[in-house]
């Protein structure tokens, strides 16, 4: 951590419990929507790369929804690093539940 960042944090301290709460909320939303996108991808019969692209596009839409509805367009107030914590936060944690429901619904409907 640079001295500048350290000084900045000393002047404007950060509330740890709020950070925890926000991370928890985002990861909850991500887990729920990831399995939802899996249902859609499996039902649409997507295979290979298009399925993963579908997931990435869906996660981006969910990030935009959080940005618009939960942070009121000011993600800096709620996330220490908006780019990593909001737009990229937990995207790859949801990937496993996405693949799970994707394969399940693909198998139910197509196989």
């Amino acid at each position: 951590m640079s001295t500048f960042e350290e000084r900045e944090l000393a002047i404007n301290p950060i509330v740890v419990t709020s950070v925890q709460h926000n991370t928890q909320v985002v990861s909850n939303i991500r887990n729920l929507t990831a399995s939802l996108f899996g249902v859609a991808a499996g039902t649409l019969g997507l295979e290979s790369y298009p399925g993963f692209i579908f997931y990435l596009v869906g996660s981006f839409i969910v990030s935009a929804l959080i940005f618009a509805l939960r942070t009121d367009g000011k993600p800096g107030d709620y996330f220490h690093r908006p780019l990593g914590d909001l737009w990229g936060g937990d995207v790859f944690n949801g990937l496993s539940s996405f693949v799970l429901t994707w394969t399940l619904f693909y198998g139910l409907l197509r196989a």
Binding site: V15, T17, V19, H21, L36, I61, R70, F79
Partner: protein, 137 residues
């Protein structure tokens, strides 16, 4: 907002179930043909509505900067379903991992715990009221 979230979730779930059931019927009747456009559209709309519902019905985020967080508490009071430490921070986990040390009130119980948020303007108002009443209470 809670009603809106529940309504969005319910509508999205109905459409999603219908779309998945329709596509199941379709693939059972005409195997190896692409899905009709109306089922695809219904599916995409339903997951959009559902994810909007999930985001709307999730709890509010909390400001992470100390000044804004403290200002919000001073303005609106501490409104939360959770428990609060005496430092004014909300307890999120199942409890203090070091509670067995019995140091909640400081060492020896004489209250030397760390002070986090303290509502200065609230206390100042209280003091002004006390002065106005002539110091009696």
């Amino acid at each position: 907002m809670a009603i809106l979230g529940t309504a969005l979730n319910a509508v999205g779930l109905i459409f999603l179930t219908h779309a998945v059931y329709s596509s199941h019927e379709h693939t059972a009747t005409f195997a190896h043909t692409p899905l009709p456009l109306d089922i695809t559209i219904e599916l995409l709309v339903s997951i959009l509505v559902l994810s909007a519902g999930i985001v709307v019905s999730s709890p509010q985020l909390k400001p992470i900067q100390w000044a804004k967080w403290g200002g919000k508490i001073a303005r609106e009071g501490q409104q939360s379903e959770g428990k609060w430490t005496k430092e004014g921070e909300e307890i999120l986990s199942e409890g203090d991992g070091f509670a067995f040390l019995g140091l909640d009130n400081g060492i020896g119980g004489d209250g030397e715990g760390r002070r986090g948020f303290w509502d200065v303007s609230g206390k100042r108002k209280e003091y002004a009221e006390w002065v106005k009443t002539g110091g009696k209470k």
